[in-house]
């Protein structure tokens, strides 16, 4: 099986994120493989281990996005490709999906493309669906389990998370799958994997190589970004001799303030 997993580099979720002069900063916090993408890499690797084939990690980003790709290689991906070009800076998902779809087509003969459910920076969770739409492949979003997969008939059955319940869906390859954290427990990179990744030469595909020169204009603009206004909350501690007394006082206060 020929599997692609699309990954993104993001700040660590524990980072304190601030805005200075309209620019987002996360201080000294490390850049990591987007936590949701770890599940996508893991699922791609498990399918490869069960059915054979190889996994290629693709990341769109500046030169330093190589760290996310190295992490993917260290986990066990065979190949990594950085899709990078000055014209790719600051693109919205409409255009990012166009670039990624072109890269997937350039890889060629791809059976499955994996995405994490969203990235922890922009929190949009739409790129996978847009890539599927552009490729004309079925989109299997928010997959919590792959129930069956047959490389011969190129058919798979999955369970998707709806807000209400799980939907069981069948589709044929090629397909685009986004995964949620319930699907697996991502592995830690092995020592050998880390060594291999640190030496890897990661090829860079530019706009010209993807045939996308002068073809990218974002639909979205972001005129302003700012930290959420600090809400000064003075916590009113409810005290009393017994739990019953505390509970009665708290309920009284909630009714007084018309909370309930």
């Amino acid at each position: 099986m020929n599997i692609v997993v699309c990954v993104k580099q993001t700040p660590d979720t524990a980072a304190t994120v601030t805005v200075e002069d309209g620019k987002i900063s996360w201080g000294d916090a490390p850049l990591v493989l987007n936590p949701w993408d770890e599940f996508a890499v893991e699922e791609a690797l498990r399918l490869k281990e069960a059915h054979g084939g190889e996994v290629t990690a693709i990341s769109l980003g500046p030169e330093d996005a190589k760290e996310a790709l190295k992490q993917s290689l260290a986990m066990g991906c065979e190949n990594a490709i950085l899709v990078s070009d000055p014209s790719f800076a600051g693109l919205d998902s409409l255009q990012v999906s166009k670039v990624l779809a072109a890269a997937i087509e350039k890889v060629g003969e791809v059976d499955l493309v994996f995405f994490g459910r969203s990235s922890v920076d922009t929190d949009s969770g739409i790129t996978g669906s847009q890539v599927a739409r552009r490729l004309g492949w079925p989109a299997l979003s928010l997959v919590a389990v792959i129930n069956s997969l047959d490389p011969e008939s190129k058919r798979l059955e999955v369970e998707r998370m709806l807000d209400e319940t799980r939907q069981q869906v069948a589709a044929s390859f090629p397909a685009v799958i986004s995964v949620v954290k319930e699907i697996n427990e991502p592995r830690y990179p092995s020592f050998m994997g880390i060594r291999k990744a640190s030496k890897a030469e990661i090829p860079i595909w530019s706009a010209a190589e993807l045939g996308l020169e002068g073809d990218l204009e974002s639909a979205l603009t972001w005129p302003d970004v700012y930290a959420i206004p600090k809400v000064e909350t003075e916590c009113e501690f409810i005290e009393g001799e017994t739990p019953e007394e505390i509970a009665a006082k708290l309920v009284d206060r909630l009714i007084e303030e018309k909370v309930v």
Binding site: T13, D123, S129, A139, T165, I228, T233, C235, L254
Partner: protein
């Protein structure tokens, strides 16, 4: 299609999400600024009643697309229909759900336009919608504009916009959209049983439990449970049982911290936080949750936060309006009893 502002009514098997009506309310404001009306779009099978409801909630008219192939939601055929319906619109609003996120994303590709999910505020300036959405798990807010492309596609976050009062006296034209369903690339085999209960994102009240729910030393697990981890989970289940009683009295939804989910106490579907659900209820009661930054990111916009925790230094108290420093195993049952009494249940 007469109106320039469209609202897609999201539903699960014919039952509309409350956020669909909130989106109609938000659309009305936009339409007033643009001097337009609001058209509701309903896609599915046997969904005609939703058109009438949409008009009661404020749509001027409705377009219905029905076909047996649309009985189950699948993004591809739904996007085909919605792209056709929205091709001439200025603005397309959808309530945010797992379905609409991908539906709106695909329509944006079809119509080569921009799309912003999880919008919490909307202004209109010179015919353009200026939307506000949280990024970095709600640590920052970003303004978003879709320029020179139409329609401007936005999904509104649940409970961010007020739900209009339905008015049964309103009337409007309901038309059926002409369309053909092409080959659908996926087949829906069935559904797991629905979880039931109040959904976290729609809930007015959420009662949550954290890792602390397993720390009741006065409980002794039954003799047949010998494994230490199983004993811990048994203890946690007793703790979540108490939290569940309070959930029941308040007709609330049950939430949990990541620590509780990772420890195997409760399913991931209940997780509130950066890697779980982002919620915004009127009242959020956190029990035995210390308040890791990832958890706070998912519930900080709750109107009133109540925290119960043994540790007076727990970060959750810095966000809370009311705090109780104490043992949740004493406080939660007492709260359940007190609410029962005062709310007459």
């Amino acid at each position: 299609m007469t109106n320039k502002v469209l609202v897609y009514v999201d539903h699960f098997k014919g039952e509309a999400l409350p956020a669909s009506w909130e989106a109609i309310g938000a659309a009305r404001k936009i339409a007033e600024s643009l001097g337009s009306g609001v058209t509701a779009v309903i896609i599915g099978q046997d969904v005609q009643p939703l058109a009438t409801q949409a008009i009661e909630y404020g749509a001027d008219d409705a377009v219905v697309a029905e076909n047996p192939a649309l009985a189950d939601f699948r993004p591809e055929p739904y996007a085909d229909v919605l792209s056709k319906a929205a091709a001439e619109a200025d603005v397309l609003l959808l309530p945010t759900s797992g379905r609409t996120r991908e539906l709106a994303a695909m329509v944006a590709v079809d119509l080569e336009t921009g799309m912003a999910p999880d919008v919490i505020e909307i202004e209109v300036d010179g015919g353009l919608v200026l939307a506000t959405r949280p990024i970095y798990a709600g640590k920052l807010l970003s303004k978003v504009v879709i320029k020179e492309r139409k329609p401007q596609i936005l999904t509104t976050r649940s409970r961010a916009f007020p739900k209009p009062e339905p008015d049964a006296s309103r009337s409007g034209e309901i038309t059926n959209l002409e369309f053909e369903v092409g080959d659908v690339p996926t087949e829906v085999l069935g559904y797991k049983e629905a979880a039931g209960g109040v959904s976290l994102t729609d809930a007015a009240v959420i009662v949550s439990g954290g890792r602390g729910v397993s720390n009741n030393p006065s409980l002794t697990p039954p003799d047949e449970i010998t494994d230490e981890k199983d004993q811990e989970i048994w203890r946690a289940q007793q703790g979540f049982g108490l939290v569940g009683d309070l959930v029941g009295v308040l007709n609330a939804a049950m939430g949990a911290s990541r620590a509780a989910v990772d420890a195997g106490y409760i399913p991931y579907a209940n997780q509130v936080g950066q890697t779980g659900k982002v919620v915004s209820p009127d009242l959020y009661i956190a029990n035995g949750i210390s308040g890791a930054i990832q958890h706070l990111a998912g519930m900080r916009t709750s109107k009133t936060i109540v925290a119960v925790n043994k540790d007076p230094e727990a970060p959750i108290f810095r966000l809370a309006r009311f705090g109780v420093v104490g043992d949740l195993f004493d406080v939660v049952p007492a709260l359940t009893a007190a609410f029962k009494e005062r709310l007459g249940k």
